[in-house]
C-alpha cells in the first residue's frame, strides 16, 4: 500500500510542478492545490498506513499501540485549512489581476509593478 501511495504522491507532485511552471495563473493555482493534496498524503504515508483503529479513545481498544498515529492527522488538519486560505487568497488575487490588467499570463504581467 505504501509503495502504491508513494507513487501516487510522486505523480501528484509531478503534475503540480508541471502546472506551476506554466504561464497561466489559473493553472498555477490548480498546481498549488494538487501540491497540497500530495503533501497531505505524504505526511500521512510517512506515519504508516492502516496501523490500527481510528484515534477516538474507546474501551474496546485494548492498548494505545492499536490506534493509528494521531499526530500526522493533526498536522494535516492544520495544513488543509491553511492551504485553503492560500488558495482562496491566490484566487482572488488572480481575479483582481485579470480585472486590472486584462491578462492571466504571468509573463505578460512582468514589470507591471513599475508602471502601475
Amino acid at each position: 500500500m505504501e509503495l502504491l501511495m508513494a507513487i501516487v504522491i510522486g505523480i501528484l507532485f509531478m503534475s503540480a510542478t508541471y502546472l506551476m511552471l506554466s504561464k497561466s495563473i489559473l493553472r498555477i493555482i490548480i498546481g498549488t492545490g494538487l501540491l497540497s493534496h500530495g503533501a497531505h498524503l505524504l505526511i500521512l504515508t510517512m506515519g504508516g498506513l492502516k496501523g490500527g483503529s481510528v484515534p477516538l479513545l474507546s474501551d474496546k481498544v485494548a492498548s494505545y499501540v492499536d490506534y493509528v498515529d494521531p499526530l500526522p492527522q493533526a498536522l494535516i488538519l492544520t495544513a488543509i485549512v491553511i492551504s485553503f486560505g492560500v488558495t482562496s487568497f491566490l484566487l482572488v488575487l488572480a481575479y483582481r489581476t485579470y480585472q486590472e490588467l486584462g491578462t492571466d499570463d504571468m509573463e505578460e504581467m512582468r514589470g507591471t509593478e513599475a508602471n502601475e
Binding site: T17, L19, L44, G48, D69, R96
Partner: protein, 801 residues
C-alpha cells in the same frame, strides 16, 4: 541598576525627551536643555577622581542575559574615568559651542541633539563596560551615531558619501572585533575583561590567541583611523564642526585607542601585539602628517592631523608593551611610553578641540574653509587668532604648551627604542626615532599652516562670502576654556600626573604599576637627545615651511588613481555593479524562473543528500496490504491529476481538481482519519465553488498560443524529477525509523490531561492550542488581504503614470 548605570543611561533617556522639548520651546535653543546633562555627568564623574587616585575601582552589576554570562557590568577605574571625563567634559564644551554654531531657525536641532546624546551614552558605555558583549553593542552604537551625525546635512551628496564610508569601514572593523571577542570568550570562557586579564598568562599559549589579537586590533584600527583604514576620517569632516571636534577628534576615534589600552594586559606580552600596534601607529603618524601638509581645506588639515596624532598615541601604546619584558621597575624607561600616551591623549583632546572650534568659527564667519582664499584675519578676529596660536603651537610641540611636554616624552620614548634588545629590535629599531622625527617635522609644518595661512598675509575680501568679524562671545567660550587648559596643563603638568595619568597607566599596565610608581612630568631635562630633536624639528620645519611651494610637487608623485581612496571607490563601484548584475540575473521578474531554480535546487540537494548519505531504504516488511478499493481510488487520482495537464478548458481543470480532492478525502476515510475526511470534503466543496465563482465572471481569454516544445520538455523534465524525488523520500521516510514516535504521549494523555477522546482534536485545541490560534490568524490575514484586494481600485493611480 546603580547610579553608574543611570549615568550611562541618562543620555539615552534625555534623547527621548529632546524632540518634545524642541517642539514645545521653539524660541529657546534646544542645546541649552541638553547642555545640563553633560555638565552634571562631568561633576558626577569628577567625584571619582579621589577614589581612583588611591587605586580603587568601582564595579556595578545589572543582570541582562545571565544564562549566557552577559551582564551589564560597569567598571570604573583610572582609564575608564579618564575617558568618561573626556566624553562629558569635551561634550559639555561642544554642546555649548554648538548652541551658537547651529542656527535654531534653520537647523533640525531635534535630530542633531538626539544623535549627539545617543553618541554620548554609547561612548560612556564603551569605556565603562567590563563585559565585552556589552562593550561591543555600545561600540556599534557609536559607529551608528557617527554615521547619523556625518550625514546630518543629508541633502549634501558629500555628507552622504562620507557617512556611508565611515559606516562601512567602522562596522567592518566592528564585525571583526566581535569575532575577536568571541574567540577570547572561547579561550577564557568568559566575556568579562577583568577575568580575561586575570588569566592572561594561560591565554598566551592558546592557538586562538593570535587570531583573536589580530581581529581585535582590526576593530581598534578601523575605529581609530589607523593606516590604511584612515580614509574615512577626512570624509567624516562633512559633519557639522562641533561633531568633528567631539566625535572625530576628541572621543569616538579614541575608542580604538581605548580598546588597545584596555586589552593591553591581555595581549601586550605577545611580540605580534608589539609590532602591529607600534608599526601601525608609526606609519599612521607619518602618513597622516605628510598628507596633512597638502590639504587646502582647514578641516581637512585637522582631519589628517588627527589621524597622525592618533597614530602617535597608538605607537606609544605599542612601545609601552615592551615594558612587560623588563622587570626592573626603577629603570623601566618603556613604561614612560605609556605615560606619554595617556598624557598626549588628554593634550590632544584640548588642543585639537580648540583648533576644530577655531576652524568652525572661521567657516561660520567667512563662509569658507579654503586656506587659499583665507588670509589676514588676525586684525579682524584677535581672540580667535590667539586661541589658534595656542592650539597650533601646542600641536607643533612648542613650549610652554602641553603639546611640548607630551611631544618630548614621545621623542624620548622613541629614542629609548634603540636600547631594546627584544623582537629583533636591534636591526629595525632605528626606524622608530627616524620616522617619528620626520613625522614631527611635518606636524610642525601643518601646524604653522593652520595658524598662519588664515590669519596672516593679505585679506582677500572679494573671495569671501561674508564680511568677516569676530565671533559672538558664546562661540568663543569653549575654545578659550580649552586653550586655557592647554596652557595650564603645559605649565602645571603635575596637576594631572597623580590624579588622572597614574591611575590610567595603572589600568593599562596593572602588573608593573605599584604604590612606588610615580608620574612626574618635568619641563626641563637638560640638553637631552629629545630637546635637540625638538630644536631640529623647529629649524628644519621653518625652512621647509618657507620653501613649501618649491617641494610641493612631491605630492604629485602618487597619482590619484593609486590612492587608497580610489581603491575604496573602485571597490565599492565594482561591488555595486556585480551585485546588480547578479540581481538582474536572478531576479528576472518572471515567476517561472524563480520556480525553476527552486525546483532544481530541491531536486539536486535532496537527490544528492539521498545518494551521499545512502539514505534511500526500502523496507517492504511493514507495508499494509493493498485492497481493490484503494487501487481504484489511486487510479482516479493518477488519471485525474494527469488529465489536468492536458485539459483545454478551465472548467474541466477545475472539475478535475475537485475530483482529485474528493478522492483524497476518501483516502482519509480508508486511512482511519475521519476528521480529515470531513474537513477535506467541506474545504474541497468551498474551493471548487470559489474557483467557479471567480472564473465564471471572467470573459473567455483568447486561446493560448502553442508553447514551444523545449518549454514543455523542460517543464516535464523538472516535474518528473520532483515527482521521483518525492516518491523516493516518501518510501525512505516510511522505512527509516531513526527514533521513537512521540505520538504515544498524546494517545496516553489525551483523556487524562485534556479530557477528550478524539485525540486529533485534543492535539489541535489543547496540546498545540497556540499553533491553532496562529493558524486562525493566518486565515484572518488571508481574509483581510482578500477584502483589501476586492476593495482596492488602481484606476486613480493609472492616470498619473
Amino acid at each position: 541598576m546603580s547610579l553608574l548605570h543611570w549615568a550611562v543611561l541618562s543620555p539615552f533617556l534625555l534623547a527621548i525627551i529632546v524632540p518634545f522639548l524642541y517642539k514645545l520651546f521653539r524660541q529657546i535653543h534646544t542645546g541649552w536643555f541638553v547642555l545640563i546633562l553633560p555638565v552634571l555627568l562631568f561633576t558626577y564623574f569628577s567625584r571619582f577622581i579621589s577614589l581612583t587616585k588611591q587605586g580603587e575601582v568601582i564595579t556595578e552589576r545589572a543582570t541582562w542575559i545571565p544564562s549566557l554570562g552577559i551582564h551589564v557590568d560597569f567598571y570604573l577605574d583610572g582609564l575608564g574615568l579618564l575617558f568618561a571625563l573626556l566624553i562629558t567634559g569635551i561634550g559639555s564644551l561642544v554642546i555649548l559651542y554648538s548652541i551658537f554654531y547651529l542656527s535654531k531657525v534653520k537647523e533640525k536641532l531635534n535630530q542633531f541633539y538626539v544623535f549627539l546624546l545617543l553618541f554620548m551614552g554609547a561612548m560612556l558605555g564603551v569605556v565603562l563596560s567590563d563585559n565585552l558583549i556589552v562593550l561591543y553593542s555600545f561600540w556599534e552604537f557609536t559607529s551608528l551615531s557617527s554615521f547619523l551625525l556625518i550625514g546630518y546635512w543629508n541633502e549634501r551628496e558629500r555628507s552622504r558619501y562620507g557617512a556611508q564610508k565611515s559606516l562601512l569601514i567602522t562596522v567592518f572593523g566592528g564585525l571583526s572585533l566581535l569575532g575577536g571577542i568571541i574567540l577570547l570568550s572561547i579561550m577564557g570562557n568568559t566575556f568579562s575583561i577583568r577575568e580575561l586579564i586575570s588569566q592572561s598568562g594561560e591565554l598566551m599559549d592558546h592557538p586562538l590567541f593570535t587570531p583573536a589579537l589580530l581581529l581585535v586590533l582590526l576593530g581598534a584600527f578601523t575605529k581609530s583611523a589607523q593606516f590604511p583604514f584612515h580614509i574615512w576620517l577626512p570624509d567624516a569632516m562633512e559633519a557639522p564642526t562641533p561633531v568633528s571636534a567631539y566625535l572625530h577628534s576628541a572621543t569616538m576615534v579614541k575608542a580604538g585607542i581605548y580598546l588597545v589600552a584596555r586589552l593591553s594586559p591581555v595581549f601586550a606580552e605577545s611580540g605580534v601585539w608589539f609590532w602591529c600596534v607600534s608599526i601601525a601607529g608609526l606609519i599612521t603618524l607619518f602618513w597622516g602628517s605628510f598628507s596633512a601638509v597638502k590639504q587646502t581645506d582647514l578641516k581637512g588639515i585637522l582631519a589628517f592631523s588627527t589621524i597622525s596624532q592618533l597614530g602617535l598615541i597608538m605607537s606609544l601604546l605599542g612601545l609601552g608593551a615592551a615594558a612587560l619584558h623588563y622587570d626592573t621597575l626603577g629603570e623601566n624607561i618603556y613604561l614612560a611610553a605609556t605615560v606619554a600616551a595617556v598624557f598626549h591623549l588628554i593634550n590632544h583632546a584640548t588642543f585639537k578641540g580648540s583648533l576644530f572650534m577655531v576652524a568652525g568659527i572661521i567657516d561660520h564667519e567667512t563662509g569658507t574653509r579654503d586656506i587659499r582664499k583665507l588670509g589676514g584675519l588676525m586684525q579682524l578676529m584677535p581672540i580667535t587668532f590667539t586661541v589658534a596660536v595656542i592650539g597650533a603651537f601646542s600641536m607643533a610641540g612648542l613650549p610652554p604648551f602641553n603639546g611640548f611636554l607630551s611631544k618630548e616624552m614621545f621623542l624620548a620614548s622613541m629614542v629609548n627604542v634603540l636600547e631594546l634588545d627584544i623582537f629583533n629590535m636591534e636591526t629595525w629599531g632605528v626606524l622608530f626615532p627616524v620616522l617619528a622625527w620626520v613625522a614631527s617635522v611635518f606636524t610642525f609644518i601643518y601646524s604653522m599652516i593652520v595658524v598662519l595661512k588664515p590669519f596672516t598675509g593679505k585679506l582677500q575680501l572679494h573671495l569671501l562670502e561674508k564680511k568677516p568679524h569676530e565671533a559672538p562671545i558664546g562661540m568663543l567660550i569653549s575654545p578659550i576654556i580649552l586653550a586655557t587648559l592647554v596652557i595650564v596643563f603645559g605649565i602645571f603638568p603635575n596637576l594631572l600626573s597623580s590624579s588622572i595619568i597614574k591611575p590610567a597607566v595603572a589600568s593599562i599596565q596593572p602588573n608593573l604599576v605599584d604604590s612606588n610608581f610615580q608620574v612626574h612630568i618635568a619641563f626641563w631635562h637638560g640638553f637631552s637627545p629629545e630637546l635637540w630633536m625638538t630644536i631640529g624639528i623647529i629649524v628644519i620645519g621653518i625652512i621647509l615651511y618657507k620653501t613649501f611651494p618649491k617641494w610641493k610637487r612631491i605630492y604629485q608623485w602618487l597619482p590619484e588613481r593609486f590612492s587608497l581612496n580610489a581603491l575604496y571607490d573602485n571597490g565599492l563601484n565594482a561591488l555595486e555593479r556585480s551585485a546588480s548584475s547578479v540581481m538582474k540575473f536572478l531576479m528576472t521578474g518572471s515567476i517561472r524562473t524563480y520556480l525553476l531554480s527552486i525546483f532544481l535546487f530541491f531536486i539536486l540537494s535532496l537527490g544528492f543528500a539521498l545518494y551521499w548519505k545512502d539514505a534511500f531504504k526500502l523496507d517492504t516488511g511493514n507495508f499494509a496490504p493493498i485492497g481493490l478499493y484503494e487501487m481504484v481510488l489511486a487510479a482516479i487520482i493518477v488519471i485525474g491529476s494527469i488529465s489536468i495537464l492536458f485539459a483545454k478548458s478551465r472548467l474541466t481543470s477545475i472539475i478535475l481538481l475537485g475530483a482529485v480532492g474528493y478522492t483524497v478525502s476518501l483516502f482519509f476515510v480508508l486511512f482511519r482519519a475521519p476528521d480529515l475526511a470531513l474537513t477535506q470534503l467541506v474545504i474541497e466543496t468551498i474551493s471548487v465553488a470559489l474557483f467557479l465563482l471567480c472564473f465564471f465572471h471572467l470573459p473567455l481569454l483568447a486561446s493560448r498560443k502553442e508553447e514551444r516544445m523545449t518549454f514543455r520538455l523542460n517543464n516535464a523534465l523538472i516535474s518528473i524529477g520532483v515527482g521521483t524525488i518525492v516518491t523516493l523520500i516518501a518510501l525512505s521516510a516510511h522505512s527509516n525509523k531513526l527514533f521513537d514516535s512521540i505520538s504515544s504521549y498524546y494517545l496516553e494523555n489525551a483523556y487524562k490531561e485534556a479530557g477528550g477522546k478524539n485525540v486529533v482534536n485534543v492535539i489541535l485545541v489543547d496540546f498545540r492550542g497556540l499553533d491553532t490560534m496562529f493558524e486562525i490568524s493566518v486565515l484572518s490575514i488571508a481574509a483581510l488581504g482578500i477584502f483589501a484586494m476586492i476593495k482596492l481600485r488602481l484606476t486613480g493611480r493609472k492616470d498619473k503614470s
